[in-house]
Amino acid sequence: MKNIISTYNNLPNKRQEETTAYMFILPFVVGFFIFYILPILYCFLISVLDFNGYAKVSDIFKGEIPFVGLENFINIFKDRVAMKSLQNTAKFSLMFVPAKTMFALALALLLNQRLFLRGVSRSFMLMPYVANVVAIAMVFSILLDDAGPISAIFNLFGLESPLWLMDKRTALPTVVFISVWQSSSYTALIFLAGLQNVPTVLYESARIDGASLWQTFIKITLPMISPTTFFVIISNTIGSFMNYGLIKNLTDGGPGYETRTLIYNIIEEAFSFNHFSFGTAQAILLFFIILIITLIQWWGQKKWVHY
């Protein structure tokens, strides 16, 4: 290995090769800096200013917008609607992540079997994921209407159908359900790839040793796909905070504030009320929440992820 490196370092065109390589990644780096890094830095800047009304963006750099330190962040904890949004976000994530992970795994296990029309099933399975979120919202609004088919089924059994999206108790779980339905197929594909990488010899050995299906699943399948599961849980957790489109089209944050999540509140504060600094402070808070959760999960992986 050392010989290879020293040989490379002594190549006459090494500098040229490196320059060409940098030039090829330059467009991405420039774009990444302009469209990701700069906006993030800008967010941190305006979150400590009082940019909560109409002002020109250039006023920031002229020093015409006062510096307020952590006031916007402190105000989040004093704002009832913001705190309610934070609470709803936590509830949403706690329901969404386990539900989506388990449902996607179940789907992947099913599709990993030798089924009739397995190929076609796999294609159809992806349809919710590629469907437009507005179309999904409209379809479910019709399905869950009190005069819709779901209510009709309840009535058939003599039961009273809940209002689903318009009931304080059921609105958020219903949104979670629809969100899980819409996004699980892609996660199932990831699990499917993980399942197919499990060596079949392990299953054969387990069968020979007389292990049951459940024992095989717990002792072989789960540990072997633990790296995939770890990745899925992290990405699902991050994804659970990005639910604006579905909520906007299904319930518009209602009834009352029951489905108003933090991301919804951020957009409303920033773009409806022009409270840019306040909205950005919430966005940064969301960023740190996601970061902390991800770090905790990363630390926890040593205990249950087997590479």
């Binding site: 040229q16 320059t19 060409t20 030039m23 090829f24 330059l26 467009p27 420039v30 774009g31 909560n52 009304g53 109409y54 002002a55 020109k56 963006v57 250039s58 704002d79 009832r80 609607v81 409209m138 609004s141 019709i142 869950l144 209407d145 009190d146 209002l163 999206l165 318009m166 009931d167 304080k168 518009d252 944050g253 209602g254 009834p255 009352g256 504030y257 409303e268 773009f271 409806s272 009320f273 022009n274 409270h275 306040f278």
Partner: protein, 438 residues
Amino acid sequence: MSLKKVVSLLLLFTICSTVFSNSNSESGSSSDDTNKEVTVTIFSDQNTADNAVPVIEAFYEETGINVEYVVVPGQAAEIYQKVDISLMSGEKTDLVHCNSVYFNKVGQAGLGYDINEFIDVDPNFDAKEAHGEFLQSYNGGEVYGLPISSTRWAVFYNKKLFDEAGVAYPDGTWTWDEYIDTAIKLTDKEKGIYGSYMPSYGNMYHIKSSMAGVSAYKEDGTSNFDDPIFAEGIKWYTDLSAVHNIQQSMTEQKIKKLGSFHFLGGKNAMMLISSWYLNPIQNYEKYPRDWEIGITSIPTFSDVQQNKNFGSTQYIFVNKNSAHPKEAYEYTKFYALNKHKYVSSIPALPNVSKGELELTFKAVEDGTKGEITVDDLFKAYFDNGLGFGNEKLGGVIASEYYSALKAQAELYALEEQDLNETVKNITISANEAIQKAK
């Protein structure tokens, strides 16, 4: 130079020129110096842009100035969100077509171009005399735009459903209790017919205070929502569906996405709506119907001393960064003084002659093939003994007010909380927003 070097340099040049090229050539006014032809640009919604075509043509004929409507997709609130960003980032689009709430917001923020510069030297136009109290000024008398129309509300009704139910057409001298009684007679749930339709706009929850002329703000600037009239208004609107069953509930409207044009589907016998509705009812191609439409005056509250009709004023706002402020002013003035001649609307001109109004209403009569006459329109909007007030809550925190109102009213409609708690929560939210705005 090796081929690899040449290719690498060419690639780098192409990518850099693509990344750093100016892509902002389309926003703001376009000005072709060689032809000396100016194009004034204006933000608006699709409906307004469609209706403005004859105005643009007439303006061009008179002045040689082009006007280009930049249609911003979405509903009103979404449109203004996008326009906000454009204005704050210094975009040069000349004008913004907006409602009074938005005009007030941007006016107070000083984002407009003071057109007094042109008004003062215009020998043919006295803005104060022409527009009266509709003209708004900010920041020590600066005028950022002109009022272009003033809406009023009336009840449109489906004559076919009245005939089928054997109910006489309303003559406009009625109270809200009589309206409800009429709607009950017209409602036939088995046929899916409702007697009434009032879209769950925010202002529907405070119709009573609008008609009574009660402000949403106390004299000290705090929220006046604890005035009993606001609670009565919320209860009154909610009871239309919850108690009287004469229209779809707010919940049903939201889930089924019933909008302003649902009435034209022919399943609701009456609809209270603003005068902007005079345009779509003339569009038989887009909204075909096999029934005739009528119009009558808004009912009154029997326990309100001096009932007022209400409405809002539409404005054209001149952007501070307008590329062609003089031409933008010319179009704004032309539109404000002449819109009603080309688009069915009530002008924001207190001194407009009856003859001119008759011409405007005649166009509606022709457009509706005689279903609504000039006489009907005068009786519905003017000759009804009603005063005139503001349809919106207004003020600096209008958006926050409506956000809180809709959220709390929804919970009340779903029986999740009582009326007192609803009003209390709205008042608290409004006062918090007022504090933040200070």
